[in-house]
């Protein structure tokens, strides 16, 4: 395991918080001989240090899977947006950006292009992680435009089908008929199928899934990041239900996701022929 990225100056070691020392001693970073992944979660220091989401929030679990799956965290920048996801970002031991609500793919575009300009010989991954309001509604233009432009960015939407952080309002990702605030008689139009829009907008890899199976999430994240790094935009839509807004208890999120594995989030996976080829090659090389 790669544990030698984070080095604390010995002069300051005695004043360092324990979680920082843990990052040095027991966190994993990129390593070509032993892939990072879900299996290390119980044994190593996670890049997410606690979090401030609700107890049992599936989004928090999904973020842990995403972080565990990053192929090269020490060279990964995560751009997020306003919403529940943004509450977790101060707790991540990576370079992260919260800018505005909805502009995440535009900010990520600037970052990625400049990182490629400044560091042409280092592979630096830029990952967007935002909620469905940020991705499908207020930020739709910027999300799709980054796909059109073929930016080398992975976009992950934590789709909880509602504006959760503002108190449970209907979003474009809410299913038709669902009663939420601002839709007091039920939503009038269908859930936006962002994963399909991603395909028609130029993504090389697009998935719709839930976060019920950690390994499946990790595999998708890893594949999407590699495809984005070498080919072009990739998109993952991951169901992370807001248990609070749909009236579930803290221990019921997993069951809800499993149920939706067969419903609105029945597996959708698109991989372009070029991406297929790339993934096969990476597998052959032992990088996947």
């Amino acid at each position: 395991m790669g544990t030698h990225i984070y080095k604390i100056n010995p002069e300051f070691r005695d004043i360092m918080p324990k979680e920082i020392i843990d990052l040095e001693e027991n966190a994993t970073w990129s390593d070509t001989t032993d892939k990072r992944g879900i299996k290390e979660l119980p044994e190593t220091k996670e890049l997410l240090e606690e979090h401030s989401l609700c107890a049992g929030c599936p989004e928090a679990a999904a973020l842990r899977y995403v972080l565990a799956a990053l192929p090269k965290p020490e060279d990964t920048v995560i751009v997020n947006s306003t919403g529940c996801t943004s509450l977790m970002f101060p707790h991540i031991a990576l370079h992260t950006v919260h800018s505005l609500f909805g502009n995440q793919n535009a900010v990520a575009t600037g970052i990625k292009r400049v990182l490629d300009w400044r560091f042409p010989d280092i592979e630096k991954d830029v990952v967007v992680l935002a909620g469905d309001g940020a991705t499908v509604d207020i930020g739709l233009d910027y999300t799709l435009q980054s796909f059109f432009r073929q930016e080398n960015i992975t976009t992950i939407c934590f789709d909880n089908e509602v504006y959760a952080n503002t108190g449970g309002q209907e979003s474009g990702a809410t299913p038709k008929g669902q009663v939420f605030k601002m839709a007091p008689t039920g939503k009038k139009f269908e859930k936006v199928k962002m994963w399909e829009l991603a395909v028609t907008s130029g993504c090389h890899y697009s998935m719709n899934m839930t976060a019920s199976a950690p390994k499946a999430v990790a595999k998708a994240v890893r594949e999407a990041i590699f495809v984005a790094r070498y080919l072009g935009p990739t998109f993952l839509n991951i169901y992370t239900p807001c248990i609070l807004e749909i009236g579930l208890n803290a221990n019921e999120g997993l069951r809800e996701m499993k149920e939706q594995d067969k419903e609105r989030f029945a597996a959708f996976k698109f991989v372009s022929p070029e991406a297929e080829e790339l993934l096969a090659k990476l597998k052959e090389e032992g990088r996947l």
């Binding site: 370079h95 950006v97 900010v107 600037g110 990625k112 292009r113 400049v114 560091f119 630096k124 910027y142």
Partner: protein, 400 residues
Amino acid sequence: MSKRSDMTETKNWSGQTLVTADHMLFEAPRTKHFMTGSEVLKEAVKRCTVDASVSYPITPQSEAAHLIGELWAEGYVGVYFRGENEFGVMSEVAGCAMAGARTITTTSGPGTLRAMENFAQWSGTRIPCQLILMARGINSPLTIQPDNLEVSYMLETGCQIWYAENVQELFDMSIAAFVVAEKPDVHVPIITVVDGFFVSHTRESVMLPEDDIALFPYDPYKAPLPPIDSETPPGRFLRDPFVMKSNYISYAAHASWQWEIRSAVERSVPYAKHYLKGLVHVTGDADAEIAFIACGTASYQAKEANRELSKLGIKSKVIKLRTIRPFPEAELLEALKGVKTAFVPEFNVVGWLEKDVKRALYGKCDTEIVGGPRVAGGMSMPAEAILREVMEKLNSGKGA
């Protein structure tokens, strides 16, 4: 396309010799050229070792944005592309600058308003990017004509705002702007304003240094916040202090951060004074009791009025404000010594500069401030309009 790794200690990636801003602005020999504001901006960007620029079409700044694109094609600018709209562009600029790039963009009027949320975000993230604002009217009704109402919306964004009068000033200011914005103790964005068409499209004589020299590159590791490039060890921080928690510490963090941004703008004063040779420029009669306080093209027209008044035996002076943020209060007070009446001619209907002047001077100066004349929507401001304002004041009740 160039590669950043082609840069050496003495040459940038396009082979230009690296020089200090002092050398570029004050020492390098210059030759005379004849060009528009858009063309001169290309010449300035060419000499600034610019990493990144993002563009979007809107009149009257489009040509300037095209020309920066040509610089990219010629290998002078590292990253260049067209964004999807101005909100997107300003966010893309933010991303470029956060990732450690010297970044420039241009916009006008409706584009400025569309992008508005970004400007406070720019200053909040302490990025030293530069926006060239080629001011035009704001809808509705639709206009593409010169009018600087949009500047009033920018005043409290936490960005520095400089105002260039003409093509020559646009060249010198846009170079100095990068240098001042990038000072580690300043490090806030800078908006260099010119009046659209009057400067962007008017061909004037301009003195330029040779184009085989360029500024030293931006060093993001001297910034008060680390660049978002994953080159510093990963730690738990956001680029901006994240204060969405409901407790006193988060409120205090937000408040102190906002104060710090404004303080950073004030800390730019000594640098701006040096590179601009003063925050205000005063011309005309030193002992005049009549003054014009203006910025941009309005100050040029005020100088015309000053010449006409001289022919009538009336002394006046023109106090041209070159920085709006920081507001040059001390310099303005000094320039107003002995002045009984000061007029503020403006290219907008609201009189934002008059309000700013009055706010700065309230209780500190006996000069009477008269807002006007004001023209808008593309109207020109002939010297006669300014003279009429003065004469109506001098001959109160008797007409101009």
